[in-house]
Amino acid sequence: MCRYDDLAPGRGVAALVEGQQVAVFRDRSGAVYAVGNRDPFSGAQVISRGIVGSRAGAPVVASPMYKQAFDLRSGRCLDEECAPDGSPAALPVWPVLLTPAEPARAGDVAPPNGAPHERETGRS
């Protein structure tokens, strides 16, 4: 899906996977999370642009639209139970697979020392 390097600590990216939009985050410690990109409160595909942080120890992302926080492990919204349409306010979550980097492509510069730079996220 993307190289581990494409993920900036504390920030996310959006990926298109079989027609579904996935938000992928890497936190400050290096852990990677994948949740749905659609913000249930606005209906916009923007979760990947939220700010990553913690709430009472849980890793969270705050929606950039109306700022509700979602637990990155469970997808559960920590601020509200229901979205405006009545559906439960939660993001789908996917497991994350990190795989070793493929042999360097032309033009790629190998990182000077090993992990974590040589890992790549796998397809979810």
């Binding site: 899906m1 993307c2 494409d6 900036a8 600590p9 504390g10 920030r11 990216v13 959006a14 990926a15 298109l16 996977v17 939009q21 992928v24 936190d27 400050r28 659609r38 606005s42 209906g43 916009a44 595909q45 923007v46 642009r49 939220g50 700010i51 990553v52 942080g53 913690s54 709430r55 009472a56 120890g57 890793p59 969270v60 705050a62 950039p64 639209m65 700022k67 926080a69």
Partner: protein, 866 residues
Amino acid sequence: MRDPSVTDIHKHLVLVGHGMVGQRFLEALTERAPGAWRITVLAEEARPAYDRVHLTSWFSGTTADELSMWPEGFAQSHGIDLRLGDPAVRIDRAARTVTSESGAEFPYDALVLATGSYPFVPPVPGHDAQGCFVYRTIEDLEAIRSWADTARTGTVVGGGLLGLEAAGALRALGLDTHVVEFAPRLMALQVDDGGGAALRGKIEELGVTVHTAAGTQAIEAGADGRVASMALSNGEVLATDLVVFSAGVRPRDQLARDCGLPVGERGGIVVDTACRTADPRIQAIGECALAADGRVYGLVAPGYAMAEAAAADLAGLEGSFTGADTSTKLKLLGVDVASFGDAHGTTEGSLEVLYSNSREGVYKKLVVGADGSLLGGVLVGDAEAYDMLRPLATSAAALTVPPEQLVLPASIGTAPGPIALPDEAVVCSCHNVTKGAIRAAVTDGGCADVPAVKKCTRAGTGCGSCVKALGTIVADELAAAGVQVARGLCEHFAHTRAELFEIVRVKGITTFSRLIDEHGTGEGCDVCKPAVGSILASLNAELGNSVHILDGEQAALQDTNDHFLANLQRNGSYSVVPRVPGGEITPEGLIAIGEIARDYGLYTKITGGQRIDMFGAAVDQLPHIWERLVAAGFESGHAYGKALRTVKSCVGETWCRYGVQDSVALAIELELRYRGLRAPHKLKSAVSGCARECAEAQSKDFGVIATSAGWNLYVGGNGGMTPRHADLLVSDVDRETLMRTIDRFLMFYIRTADRLERTAPWIERMEGGLDHLRAVVVDDSLGICAELDELMARHVETYEDEWRATLQDPDRLRRFVSFVNAPGTPDPTVRFVPERDQVRPAREDEDGNTLRPALVAGPRLEVRTR
């Protein structure tokens, strides 16, 4: 108590006079007996009630609208028929009717007279010459200002409170000013000889010539009928082109006299403690009334108390006015003067404690009773202690400290502070709120801060002189109740934004990681990260960081708007606002924006800040759009940031018939100086080329209005949910002083404000308020101005256009992709439909066009024209 059945739905009340007291009466009555009375108000003046206490501020730019005390919608919501410019001329008590000047007749069930007073003009020869004025209404002030245009010397007759205010106004109008006072000292009613002497010294320092123990004998007019000179009883003759009479006021009781109501020997309609006249259907309140204690009160607070008493009576409630505290504190020509309680020591057996320092122009006298209680006092030159001393004097409690400590300068004595006040001490005398009531609002009413207490008790909402005391009482009460006021930013930092700013600055911390590891807990959140991002952005140059907010770890701190240097809209698309400094734009600039918007199918709208907003861009498109904007000479408008937005301007003297300065040039200069400056919240500004204020500068965080002598700087205004007019910080300053003052104001704000705190609440929260702010940025009372100047100089030096810099760096550009694994593929869920010849986001139930993936030339959306 009045028979409650009087408050029948069909009863009609006529109020004669619509001044401050009349308006207060209406508010009190409609609050206590909503809907009970049909109300007609007969007003002589052409405008509804306005703040006469602050009348003089009209000369320094406060508009008639701002002085108005007539809330919008008040008449409608209470069914009040306010008849302006149609004074009552006759009362027929037998028929129970009032006739107005226009001839209309109004039957009444209850009649309230609030006709106020008229200025006393001594009947000396020539008192009606052209150029002689009184000082009572906005119209009087307008006439004085226009006459002053052609005058060189002005003389005020009367050295009382109002006379000195008038003298200050004449001085500010540039006149050589004299004050003529009949009594042997200034402010004879309020202060004693020592206080009068201190006051005189201070006022003469300001260039006002004072003549005491001098009566006006005659006014001579020239051949043209204009006033030319004034002869005094001491033989002096003053050449003068303008005269203001401010020799006291007399109750306007003629209506009452004409219908046979008893009036006092020296005027004033006789009323009882419920403000009822001899006719139980008629009440009189304010300056026209002779109160039950045999006095006519010329101050607003007793007038308000009478209005409350009369309204309570009419509502069938208990209400009485038996006399009032005539304490006053004011700033006359920049000199603090206060007088409270038994200022002249008339109480049997009273003693005086005196502190007098003619070098500093400070005079303080306390009158102490034989039992050791504080009875009253006079303060001139330093009235800081008034807020605490006045309630102490009115509560009659014994002093807990030796009285001399209360008059010594703070450096020598120790002020006991308002905590030493007993509960029954009146802290706010405008609204008669005791310390006990304030404490109860905190402990029982659940008020957690000063604004809440103000709302709940009305304390501090009158003249505002008690706000500082209020703050101390509220803070002490909260502390006593053990209320831990969580001051921290969020769960990750126990520090306020201002504290974090100092930590970052002093320790030279350059990253969020280090800051949270050393001074916080956890990983941060969407509250503290952008706040720290903003602090770092303000200090980057100082810290030796890259000044670009998307560099290094800083990128992860930014809100989505800052992260993409654009504004997120509801469907996930972004809008783009190039900077248009001062709102000045060339035809070529307009064409370039138009072409770019057309080529990318963007919806365009003119913003309130005189720029053009382009909506509907995908993240992949942003660099392409900006490449073209930068090529056309545009730069980031920072519409996405907590930063300076725009400096709006009117067209100014270059084109406008009324302009007195080049407002556009100054607006451009300000906008270019402060562009990119990161702050706790967005910053807006405007420059108006004359007092007509077309740029609406008084609704901005910092606004500048041209005067014929320079610039007036207003700060702390905003529009939005809680609109607030800005306050005048400095006036008539030159360009350099203006810039320096704004530099310091902004940097002081950036250093000390809370997260997302606009300048208005920041100033309101500041201890000492606007005066303190002025002391810091003008007089350098904290000794930090050099630092503030340096910080701003660094900002100006290191500014770079964020978008131009982003376009030059492939690393910064990497983030502008829709999908990490399919860059260039637009978000298929972002769809648009045509509306009024442009696009808008499709609603969920609508189909619509998605953006086309061809990005190099930019997608063009087909728009159907109607």
